[in-house]
């Protein structure tokens, strides 16, 4: 019964119509299983599907975001060990501090919703110098923007949505910062793409150690 026509043709990348909350969560959960092993997500599925909407669904999305923030925060920590120019080192420090603040905020939000924060996975990143760091940073930040933009419409709590919006704006600013450092266009598209959870997890899988 709820089926609005797509907002605008040019916005097709962001459309989430036809995706029910359950479907969104289930697909994300299956993707998590692919990432961490099926055993890790048994309770996760039953809980989120039993209660379509509400705090439990939001907790799943917040844990998805938390995992991405763990990854970004650790990525910038590792970058500081590289031989970076003063400017890029300062940038990595600032962005890393923001990501660490996102980790804390999401963890506390999940706990406030009586959820269990996801554990931090072990990561490895193929970065060896400034160029490879900046290149991967651009991918991660652009992916982060798309991940939040894709997940946000499935959030049910206005407060959680506001928090996600406040964070994704910073991810977008980071993406622009990194692109500037690389001499790339900072806003190459008029509309940032939305990515679904499985696609995001697939994109970051190479950096998660089993």
């Amino acid at each position: 019964m709820h089926h609005t026509t797509p907002a605008v043709p040019t916005l097709s990348a962001t459309e989430v119509h036809g995706v029910t909350r359950s479907a969104f969560i289930l697909r994300g959960t299956l993707a998590v299983a692919g990432l961490y092993g099926a055993g890790a997500v048994g309770p996760f599925v039953s809980r989120s599907l039993a209660q379509d909407g509400g705090a439990n669904g939001d907790v799943e999305i917040l844990n998805f975001a938390l995992t991405l923030e763990y990854l970004e925060a650790e990525f910038y920590r590792r970058a500081l060990d590289l031989d970076l120019s003063a400017e890029v080192k300062a940038l990595a420090g600032t962005l890393g501090a923001h990501e660490a603040a996102h980790v804390s905020a999401l963890t506390e939000t999940i706990e406030a919703l009586d959820g269990t924060p996801a554990k931090e996975p072990k990561f490895s990143f193929p970065i060896k110098d400034e160029a490879s760091f900046l290149e991967l940073a651009q991918t991660l930040e652009d992916t982060g923007v798309s991940a939040y933009n894709g997940a946000a419409p499935a959030i049910s709590s206005p407060e959680v949505l506001a928090a996600a919006g406040s964070i994704v704006q910073i991810e977008a600013r980071h993406a622009a910062d990194i692109r500037r450092a690389r001499g790339e266009p900072q806003a190459p598209e008029p509309f940032d793409k939305a990515l679904e959870m499985p696609d995001v997890l697939k994109a970051v899988k190479p950096f998660v150690r089993a």
Binding site: A105, A163, G165, V168, A172
Partner: protein, 251 residues
């Protein structure tokens, strides 16, 4: 029921919403400095042009919480409020929000058009401005088309005036408009009812944020002036801040 937003800490350990309520940023200081009581009147005509009820039957309901940073944070319990809002006149409809966004896009478009006419910029700065202008043009067209698809009437384009001086002051004005735009979209995100409209608004929101960060950096300012958490701006505050760029029709 707990309110997650109030528990969001920043990296100094202070809950983000309290930090937001304290109004720390220079942007906010700027906005309060230029704020005027007449702004709502200027835009009332624009907003009145929109239809009765464009909310659509979205999933997100209970949009009772103001996201206004200046209002001192959430007033409670909205996370627990899942029942449908019984009165469609309560709260702002999606069409009103879209026409508000359209009004801001008109401003940004008019501004960039003036800047590109001015020959003030060359080289990479000019390329950047052209790119941003193109993005804003697409935002404007997309929002206008969305309003029409929802059966609403797009807000009329306002007459605008911008003080264009030296390149640095023009870039400062651009940064002001883009930062205000990002804060404005963020301020509406959790008031939008339709998932489709929300997805569209989010995809524009992060592009405004990219523009804002790029311009801040070009000016030697912090690309994330508010730190790890962006601060939303309520509609009234944004409208007050842009009033100076609207030519008020004289009767």
């Amino acid at each position: 029921m707990l309110e997650p937003r109030t528990n969001l800490p920043n990296r100094d350990g202070e809950p983000a919403m309290e930090q937001l309520a304290r109004d720390p940023s220079s942007r906010k200081r700027f906005l309060s400095a230029v704020g005027g009581a007449g702004a709502a009147t200027v835009f009332a005509g624009l907003l009145a042009a929109c239809g009765q009820n464009g909310g659509g039957e979205g999933e997100r309901v209970g949009d009772t919480g103001s996201v206004g940073a200046g209002s001192g944070g959430p007033t409670g319990g909205a996370a627990a409020t899942r029942q449908k809002n019984p009165d469609p006149k309560m709260g702002t409809s999606d069409l009103e929000i879209l026409n508000y966004a359209l009004s801001l896009e008109y401003l940004e478009n008019a501004f960039y058009a003036r800047v590109l006419e001015s020959d003030l910029f060359t080289g990479s700065d000019l390329e950047m401005i052209k790119g941003f202008a193109q993005n804003e043009r697409e935002h404007l067209e997309a929002i206008k088309a969305t309003v029409q698809k929802m059966g609403g009437e797009p807000a009329a384009e306002p007459k605008t005036k911008f003080p264009l001086g030296k390149p640095t002051s023009v870039l400062t004005l651009a940064a002001t408009l883009e930062n205000a735009g990002a804060a404005a979209y963020l301020g509406q995100a959790n008031r939008i009812r339709s998932k489709e409209v929300l997805a569209a608004a989010l995809s524009i929101h992060t592009v405004e944020a990219r523009h804002a960060a790029a311009l801040n950096a070009l000016l030697g300012l912090a690309p994330e002036p508010e730190g790890a958490f962006a601060v939303p701006a309520p509609m009234e505050e944004v409208l007050a801040s842009v009033q100076q760029f609207i030519v008020t029709p004289t009767p």
